[in-house]
Every structure is written in structure tokens, then in C-alpha cells.
Amino acid sequence: MKRPDFTQVAEFVVGDAQADRMVPPTGITARLTLLSAAAMAFLAVFALALSVATGRMAERWGDELARSSTLRISAPADQIDAQTQAALRVLEQTPGIASARALTDEEQRSLLEPWFGPDLPVETLPIPQLIEVIEDGAGYDAQGLRLRLSAEVPGAVLDDHTRWRQPLVTAAGRLRLLGWVSIVLIFGTMAAMITLAANAALAANAQVIAVLRLVGARDSYIAKAFVRRYTLRTLGGAAFGVVAGLVAILLLPSAQTAGGFLTGLGFQGAGWLLPLVIPPLAAAVAFVATHLAATRTLKELP
């Protein structure tokens, strides 16, 4: 078969008005195909949004959190300053660390404020000193740093966030995978439904097909009438479904901080163009499904 070029596609869409008239119009299957294509496209938009959003989330968690870590120094009150200085010295010498800074008392107090209120006398409490560590692009060797700290600053505990970050990143990755699996399932279901509809139409039009064969129509001519119909129908239905899905996503209430994950469901920037792939893809699925169904049916006729 020749590779279809754009004039062929255009010809297909504009169509052979005559060939189209050969098959009688079918009210109910037409509407059902349209409706199910729209519903599937609507669902595909959400599955796509889920995949994109979780992908974004995994990246953000992986990225931002990886770049900062915390060093906690717990030591008797008289040693804490000395150990802090020692730790900062070690951190300065560690390759891959862009900056390290001991939090001030005010900063520490504001961190604790949500839990203990504003009047907490931080100075008098045995609160560990926190040091904020910012990595450069390449990152540092956490294992090596821990070893060195345990030798030189016994009260230091390095928290590079991997411990709680990793499960979140994994979960986000799984969600994204689920999103893609859903998309595959949605298109698979669409193919199955269109095949069923096309088969029903082919069976209902057995006499039409027989007459066309007897007067010398080729299989490709007969198949085209069915294929074109179902492809265009699916394209139209899917386009409608995508628009409805995008509107639904636009109308999601935005709760900035509280929502986090929930409000992240959506597209950003050029990502809004991504769902536009769904209608042509659905049309391609319909084309292949109807083509296969028609060829199979026709081959069994005299």
C-alpha cells in the first residue's frame, strides 16, 4: 500500500459523495458511535491530565527536595556552637554543596511557631541547631558526608530527605503509569466499540454489499463507504468530548495551597495542546478498526 499523503487525507475527508450514498444512513448506530467516541475522549482528557500532572509532581519533588537538605546538631548547650562551626567547616569543604547556613534563632522559632505558639523561649530550650544545606547542580555524596560528620561532629544528623521523598516520587510515578494505562485502555475500548458498531452496520447492510459486489464494485470501494463514515463520526465525537473535558478541567475550583495534588490536575502552557492529539488518534483507531472489520466481512462474501 502507498503511504498516504495529505491530498489523499483531504480526499478521504471530503470524500466521494457518491460512494457515501451507497450505504443507507443509520440513525441509531451513528448517534451511539458519536456518543461513545465523545465519552471516551472526555475520559482520555482526564487520564492525560492525571498523567501529565503526576509527572510534573514527581519531577518537582525529585528536583526541589533533592536540592536542599538539613543538618541537625543536637549537643549539650555548651558544645552546640563549637559543633555548628565544625559542621559548617566540613560542609564548606564538601564538593557539590553550594551553600550552608545555620538558621538563626528567629527562623527556628518561626518554624516551631505553628506547633508551640509565638512565645516559645527558644534560647532556653535544648533545641537542636538546624543548618540548611543547598546543593549545586551535581549534588554531593551523602554517604561520604555522613561518614565524615560522624568523625568530626558527633552530634550531627544529616537529613537529605530521600527517606520520605522516595516513596512520594514512587507513588507519583505509579499514578502516572496508571494514567497511561488508562489511556491505552480507553483507546482499546474505543476500538472494540467501533468494531462492534461497524460489524453491526456491515451485517445490517448485507444486501447493499451483495448488490454492490454483483455490479462490479471492488472491496476497497465498498469498505471505503463504511470506513469513511465511522472515521469521521469518531473524529467528530472525540473532538466534542475533548472540548467538554477541557472545559471541565478549566472549571475545576483552584484551591492554591491546600489542594496541592488535586488542583495540580490540569495542563500548563503548551500542555493544553496535548489533548488535541486525542481526536486524530481516535480517528486513526476508528479507521483501522473499521477497515479491518470491513475487509474481514467482505472476504467471506461471494
Binding site: 443507507p24 447493499v208 448488490v211 454483483l214 462490479g216 471492488r218 467482505l298
Partner: protein
């Protein structure tokens, strides 16, 4: 044109036709007779490749039917006009479109063909019914429309299965006239019929041979009609 060589045909039970050999030469005119159920329709179906023989060879335009793929058969049918015994149409399209169907499916529905179409409809007496739908036609009107559809492509061969079954004598004569004219233009004609009067009428106008299916064989009937 169409050649059968030692053809046998069975639908699964016993053999319906055995050892049939025939060559339809270009420009020949044949009638096919035989009792009901003797296999006339079956024989014609073998001739336009709606059936493949259980044994023997059928050649359409010098090609073995078994070696032809579906597209080859479709192309061969454009050169063979068939009037079926159980005439079928596209019931959602008007008569004129149905008659023009062979042109349409072969991409030949040009403007000058529409003139032909009108003349042809006129000849078979369906001018006033051109816009009717096939289910609205009488049995005879259906057969006339079927004949018009069979000849519109100006095919090399015309096979007609009981084309005058539901038609009065005048109209039968008229349709026969059309087939005789086509035969004079060089077309090969084969008509399956019970109507001996039709055969007699034709014999006055053309050199027609009468074939008879009897006892599973094809025989050339004598001049004893």
C-alpha cells in the same frame, strides 16, 4: 469470452451439474432452458463467478476463475451484465441511481452517460418511474430496471435469468428487441427462460442456439421447438 470445461457443480449433496463444457463465443446468442430446479441459475452463477465449480475449469476472458482474486472478479463483472432471477437493488436509492450503479462503482458516471441513462430508461418504459424507490416498483418494473442496469455499462456479455418472467408479451418483445440490438452490436447474450414463445420470436431475428439442461447435462436442443 466465457468457457466451461468439464465443469461439475454440487451444493454439498449429489451433483447438480456434471461434465459441462461450453464456449460462449463473442457475438453468440444462447437460450438456456430446462425444468425448474434443473440448475439454470446455478449455471449462470458459474458464468459470472458467483460460484466456483466443484470440479473442472471456468475461464472468464481467458482467465481461470480459481486464479482470479476478488478485485479481478469485480473487474470481470463490469464486462458481464447480469439480470438476476431474484433482482436486488439498493432500496434507499431511486431507480435511476440503481440503474446507473455499475457506472458509479466503476467511476464512470460521467455527464454523457446520463443521456444514455435517460434513453435506456425510456426504452424499458421506466422514464416516469425514474425517481421511484425500488420497493415501490411492480415485479415487471423491477425486471425491466434490472435489465437496464445489466446493459448500462455496454458489457461484452449479458446473462439474463428469466428476464421476462413477470412481463406481458408486448414488453417482453420490447426487451428482447433490446437484447437483439445489443447482439447485433457484437455483444454475447445468454437468456435463461421457460418462455418458448420468446425463443421462437427471437429465432426469427437472430441466429440463436438453444441449450437445455436435462439429467445434469447440458444439451444442444434441436430445431424441434
Amino acid at each position: 469470452m466465457i468457457e466451461l470445461e468439464n465443469v461439475a457443480m454440487s451444493y454439498g449433496g449429489g451433483e447438480l451439474l456434471s461434465d459441462i463444457s461450453l464456449q460462449l463465443a463473442p457475438g453468440s446468442f444462447h437460450f438456456l432452458t430446462g425444468p425448474s430446479g434443473s440448475g439454470k441459475t446455478t449455471f449462470l452463477k458459474l458464468c459470472y463467478a458467483a460460484l466456483t465449480p466443484t470440479s473442472g475449469q471456468v475461464r472468464l476472458f481467458d482467465r481461470d476463475v480459481r486464479a482470479m482474486d476478488r478485485d479481478d472478479i469485480a473487474l470481470a463483472r463490469r464486462r458481464i451484465g447480469v439480470v438476476h432471477q431474484d433482482v436486488q437493488f439498493l432500496d434507499h436509492l431511486p431507480v435511476a441511481d440503481n440503474v446507473a450503479l455499475p457506472l458509479t462503482v466503476s467511476g464512470r458516471d460521467t455527464l454523457d452517460e446520463t443521456v444514455n441513462l435517460r434513453e435506456l430508461l425510456n426504452w424499458v418504459g421506466l422514464k416516469s418511474r425514474a425517481d421511484a424507490l425500488p420497493p415501490e416498483l411492480s415485479g415487471g418494473e423491477r425486471q425491466r430496471a434490472a435489465l437496464a442496469r445489466a446493459v448500462i455499462m455496454s458489457p461484452d456479455v449479458i446473462l439474463a435469468d428469466e428476464p421476462t418472467g413477470n412481463i406481458d408479451w408486448d414488453m417482453s418483445q420490447r426487451l428482447l428487441q433490446l437484447l437483439v440490438e445489443l447482439n447485433r452490436m457484437g455483444k454475447t447474450i445468454m437468456i435463461a427462460t421457460h418462455d418458448l414463445n420468446l425463443i421462437r420470436a427471437a429465432k426469427g431475428q437472430v441466429q440463436a442456439r438453444v441449450l437445455r439442461i436435462a439429467g445434469r447435462r447440458l444439451q444442444l436442443a434441436g430445431a424441434d421447438l
